[in-house]
Structure formats: C-alpha cells, structure tokens
C-alpha cells in the first residue's frame, strides 16, 4: 500500500512538472526559408519577434541557398511532412503546389485585412490563384541596381553616376587604372541571369522586355535587343577579377563595402549587407539604376502556407499571414532586408534613398517582373544555362547567341 502510494505520488509529481508544457497550446509554426545572410536573417527576425509577441511559437528551419531550401521543402512535401510556412517568390513558382491543392488559402485573412486595397493590383493578382489569395507578400526587390563604393569612385576620379553605357564603361576603365577591381562579379548562374535581365531591360525597354518574356516574341526587334544585351555582357568580362567564378553574392557585396571593388550589379537585398556593415546609402555607397534603363526588374517574396492537416498549424498560418502584412512589420522588414514594402500605405519617410527611388519606379508602374515570376522553373533553368554558357565560354558571337536565346521557350 505504502509502495503504491509512493508510486502514485511520484506519478502526480511527474505529471505536475510536465503539465505546463502541454497546457500551453500556442499556435506553433515551423518556417522554412533561405534567408540566412546578415540582412536577411535580421529581416526574418522582425516577423519572428512580432509573431512571438502575438503569442506564437516560432521554429526556424532556415537553409542557406535558395535551391537547397527548395529541394528540402519539396522533399518534405512529398514525404507528407510539410512545414507550416515556406518563403518563396510570388508567381508561377508556387502555381504547381497550389494546383495540386498542397497549399492553404488565406482568403479570409486577406479579406479581413483588406489586402486588395493595400496592395498594388499586379501584386494582388500574383498572390491569388483561381481567384483566392494563397500567399502573404513580404516585400518587393528591385533588381536593376548598380551599387557602387563612393570611396572607390572618388579614388578613381569618377565625379558623377554614369548615365549611359559608354560613360559606364569609361568609369570602369578609370577604376581599373586606379588599381581597383571594377566589377564585383558573383559568378553563379542566377546572379549572371539577373545582370543579363538588367541589361536587357535597358536595351529593349519595358514593352520589349514583356514581349520577350511574357509573349515569347521572337521578332526582329527582340532578337536585336538580345544581341545588344549579349554584347554589353561580353564586354563586362574584361572588368571582373580572377576569383569571380562561383562567388556568392554577399562576398561580392563585401568587396564593394570594403572598397576593394567599384560596382556590383545586384538586387536591392545587397543593401541589407551594407546596413549590417554599418554603411549608409547615399553617403558611403551609392545606388543607381542600370544605365539607360527605363525602369526596374522586380521580384517579390512571400510566405507560402502548405497544407499540414493540423488545425493548430492552420491557426498559426493565419496569425503569421496577419503579422507579415502588418504595416509596421512591412516597413521594419523592408528596412532590414533592403526591400520595398508591398503595402502602399506605409510611412515612406523612413526609407533610404535607394528604397525611395525604387518605390517611385514601382508606383509609376515602370517595372517588369523577374523571370521567376513569369517563366516556369524549367525555363528559368534553361535561361540560367544560356547566360552562364555565354558568359563563361568567352564567346564573342552575340548574333548566334541571340538566336539560341529563344530556344529556352520551346
């Protein structure tokens, strides 16, 4: 009897210690992202902090590298063990998942938060599939940026931002003469494709760009535009350093931050790296849109909400969607990540010079979508192959290159 009593008491004590853990049923979410660089993780932390403040529990499953994170995500989906949230771009990339009904719609959150009024229509369309909202947009990135080190420009004697490609190359020559690496080049296919697109936009204009990528138009003008683009791209080869092949984008940014290199072509997430390094836009570094470009290529990130067959996670997803679209979070997130807020009703005065430039172009509608939004992942891969092969083969033959370009749409 005594023994039994002891056991009973021990059991009660055990349950008592364990109970509080079980009693809390906070909405828990596991989020998979590839946001691991300094600026990126600081931005993700903004969402995390607010999510936790509202009573959620946050489990971070970040994996460095967009491709690696995607692969892990697909594995988990196929294995029936989907995470509660996944960071990904808006547009066609998510379409397959939605069409296979692997995603939870967040239409009610969107309706309650009046997202349709707060977001530009083009974005609202891209987060909706079959008339329902599925993605919670975090921020838009401009991808037509050339970041330059003011210190390097000064040293090389470049007084003002080059307006044309001719001036730009003259500037690069000066940088080279001053013993500075002219272009901090990230020799990975996706980065090279971004540069290709920036140049393409500056050569064919907004309508021409959309014609090529959306209508897959292969007219004389389109081919000519691609040819001119390849010529400029080919010329840039002479201005990169030996270690460019395979370099990560943030390592390239670091070269500009330290003044080792003059310019970097990159999306505005590079600003996050500058911010983490304590550099200020307009003072330590400058940002200009690619020479002769009438607008800006953009990409937009969002949070996806996979189906998990767990009601608790569904609630956590709704909470996360609310948090992501909260005006204060949108602004703070963009400041940290270097992006442009999605909501048009946030306080613009806090944004830096570059973000304001980007926002201007965005509100004026002078933007074209990144290839990941308008092309299927297969086509995006072929485009990467095409640009990478042209860049690293050292080919000077822009004419047949331009012909080959259009085979990626076949």
């Amino acid at each position: 009897m005594n023994k039994k009593m002891k056991l009973f008491l021990a059991g009660v004590a055990l349950v008592a210690t364990l109970a509080p853990v079980h009693a809390e049923d906070k909405p828990t979410i596991e989020i998979m992202s590839s946001w691991t660089s300094g600026g990126e993780s600081a931005a993700l932390n903004v969402i995390k902090t607010e999510f936790e403040k509202r009573g959620g529990v946050w489990k971070d499953s970040s994996i460095a590298g967009f491709g690696a994170a995607d692969a892990a995500f697909q594995n988990r989906i196929v294995a029936g063990d989907a995470p509660g949230a996944k960071q990904g771009v808006i547009g066609l990339a998510a379409a397959d998942f939605v069409n296979q009904s692997l995603m939870n719609p967040i239409a009610d959150v969107a309706a309650a938060g009046k997202w349709a009024d707060a977001l530009p229509k083009s974005i609202y369309d891209l987060i909706s599939y079959n008339g329902e909202v599925y993605l919670a947009p975090t921020g838009a990135h401009g991808e037509s940026w050339v970041f330059y080190s003011k210190q390097a420009f000064e040293k090389a004697g470049i007084a003002e931002e080059p307006k044309s490609w001719d001036e730009f190359f003259a500037g690069l020559d000066k940088l080279k003469a001053a013993g500075i690496v002219p272009v901090a080049w990230g020799g990975q296919p996706w980065q090279q494709t971004k540069v290709f697109n920036m140049i393409l936009l500056s050569r064919v204009g907004i309508d021409g760009f959309l014609k090529i990528y959306v209508d897959k138009d292969k007219s004389e003008a389109s081919v000519e535009g691609v040819k001119k683009t390849l010529e400029i791209l080919g010329k840039l080869r002479g201005y990169v350093d030996d270690g460019a092949a395979g370099r990560n984008w943030n390592d390239a940014t670091a070269m500009v931050i330290t003044g080792k290199a003059g310019v970097q072509f990159m999306g505005d997430w590079a600003k996050g790296e500058f911010t983490v390094a304590g550099k200020e836009a307009g003072k330590d570094y400058g940002c200009m849109i690619t020479p002769e470009s009438p607008g800006m290529v953009y990409i937009a990130d969002s949070i996806w909400f996979p189906k998990t067959a767990n009601a608790e996670t569904d609630n956590a997803q709704k909470l996360l969607a609310e948090v992501v679209m909260d005006p204060a979070v949108q602004l703070e997130f963009s400041l940290k990540k270097g992006s442009v807020p999605m909501r048009s009703d946030v306080d613009k005065s806090k944004l830096d010079v570059c973000a304001r430039k980007g926002l201007e172009l965005m509100t004026a509608g002078n933007i074209v979508p990144d290839q990941a939004i308008v092309l299927t992942p297969q086509q995006v891969g072929l485009l990467d192959d095409f640009v990478d092969e042209y860049w690293s083969s050292g080919s000077q033959d822009a004419v047949s290159g331009a012909e080959n370009f259009f085979s990626i749409f076949e």
Binding site: G187, G243, A245, G246, Q378, G381, S392
Partner: protein
C-alpha cells in the same frame, strides 16, 4: 536430401525480409523512376505518357552531354590516378621504412573526410584570390598562376586532383594488405637472382595484387557514378558546363528545375550505362567461377 530442403526453407524464410526490401526498395523504385521518365512529369509525377520525348530532350541538352563527357574524364583519371598513386604509396611503405604507422595514418586520413570537406579545402587552395596563387604572389612571385577551379579548361582536373588526394589512401591500404600477404620466400628467391627491386614490384608483386586492386578499382568506380558532393562543394558545375556531372544534372532537374521527367530519364540512362559497363565483367567472373561450382 530432406534435411537439405528443410535447411533451405529456413534460410529462405530468414532471407524473406531482405528479399522484400530488395524487390520493393531497389527494384520497385527503379521501375517507378523508369516509368516516370516516359511521362511529362514536372514537379509531381504525372501519368501522361510522352514516349521517348524526355530522352530526345536529354540528348539535345548541351549540359547533359557535357556532364557525360566530364564524368568520363573524371572517372578514368580518378580511378587510374588513385590506383597508381595508391600502389606507389603502398610499395613505399612496404620497404619497411621507419614511422610506417604514422605515414599510413596520414595517407589514409583524407579518406575519412567527406567529399564536401575535401571539396571545400581544395576550392580554397585553388581559388586564385584566396589560395595558393594569392600566397605565392604575396611572397613576391607576381606572375604565378594556379587558378584551376575558376579556369574552364582546368576545373575538371582540379576535381580529379582533389579526388585522388582523397581516394589514394584507400587503394594504398588495400594494396599494402595484399603485399603483406605475399610470401617472403619470393623476395628471397628474386634477390638471389639479382632482380632489381622495381622489377620485382612490377613483374612479381603487381600480378599477385590483381584481385585486390580490382576490388579497390570497383569501389572507386562506383564512387565516380555517384560523384555529386565534391562537385557541388568545389565548383558547383562551373565555370559554365565544365564540371557538370550526371548526378548533379539529375539533382538540379529533380529539385531546382522541377523537371521530374527529364531527371528520371537521366537517371535511367545512368543505370543503363552502368549495367552495360558491368555486365561483361560480371559475365566473365561467372564463366571463370562456374567450373569450380560444377565440380
């Protein structure tokens, strides 16, 4: 007779789980993959059959052809290099040198490392702005060039170099074990005949090591087909297509490019080529062993 059958039955029964695993896990998934290669599957499996369309696409892809070419160069040089270097190292250690244990450990150590670590180390060493080139230049030799990982024509050899560094130790251990198994009498006899040492190794020792080296070569060759991590860590297939390999092509299409059909077509081609390469070898082994079994 009766007992034999009984024993066979219990043995078969005990092997059932293994058979099940082999059939379902290996053959089942293989059949499934081959089936998918005839469909237009993208992100998810579909059952819309398109015949050989994926194979046509595969063999018109410059990237795939480059990857086959690369894996062939890598495979021949890597396996050959490991066998030669491994044999030489084993012969050197076999000379009853001092600190043999220490050297053996040092030479085998790289094999204990993963390909990712090996790849990263060599990537740093061969990177012109970080590694050997930068250090030598900072010592004063300004024109020194060692840029293998970023040089399109040399990148594949950088992979071979790193691979050999890692794999030679394994061959060494296997070959050394074989050499230790050779009777000392043969050495004495050869000495009396006044045969030079190198000749003893080439004409007497090497032929006796045949089976051991064949086993080592087989192990390495299997690694070649699977080559993936070292490429990802060192060059990620670049510059351009210069270090693209089939396994990486398949992984890229499987995940990044959401192109299941093309990826499984690539995997099928890989399996077929392995079977074609291995079948004659297995057949020869079978023919050689049969008389013994029949007797």
């Amino acid at each position: 007779m009766h007992t034999t059958r009984k024993r066979n039955f219990s043995a078969t029964f005990a092997l059932l789980p293994t058979w099940f695993a082999a059939i379902v896990v290996y053959i089942g998934t293989m059949v499934w993959s081959i089936r998918l290669s005839f469909t237009d599957s993208t992100l998810f499996p579909s059952s819309n059959y398109v015949g050989f369309a994926q194979y046509v696409k595969l063999f018109s892809s410059a990237k795939w052809l480059a990857s086959l070419h690369n894996v062939l160069i890598f495979g021949v040089l890597y396996v050959g290099g490991c066998l030669v270097l491994g044999f030489l190292l084993a012969a050197a250690l076999d000379r009853k040198i001092r600190f043999e244990n220490a050297f053996r450990t040092i030479f085998l150590y790289p094999y204990a490392m993963s390909f990712v670590v090996t790849g990263l180390i060599w990537q740093w060493m061969l990177n012109p702005t970080l590694g050997i080139q930068a250090s030598v230049r900072s010592l004063g030799w300004e024109t020194f060039v060692l840029d293998w990982v970023v040089n399109r024509n040399m990148a594949i050899y950088a992979l071979v170099l790193a691979g050999i560094w890692q794999g030679a130790g394994l061959v060494m251990v296997i070959a050394l074990a074989g050499m230790r198994g050779i009777e000392a009498e043969q050495w004495k006899a050869a000495r009396i005949d006044g045969i030079p040492v190198w000749r003893i190794y080439v004409s007497i020792i090497l032929p006796q090591l045949g089976p051991a080296l064949a086993a080592a070569g087989m192990l390495l060759a299997m690694g070649v087909i699977k080559t993936y991590d070292i490429v990802v860590a060192m060059t990620n297939g670049g510059p351009g297509n210069s270090t693209e390999v089939p396994a990486k092509f398949i992984m890229d299409n499987l995940f990044g490019r959401q192109n299941l059909g093309l990826a499984t077509a690539g995997a099928t081609v890989l399996v077929l080529s392995v079977i074609i390469a291995v079948a004659p070898f297995r057949y020869a082994m079978y023919m050689r062993n049969r008389p013994k079994g029949a007797a």
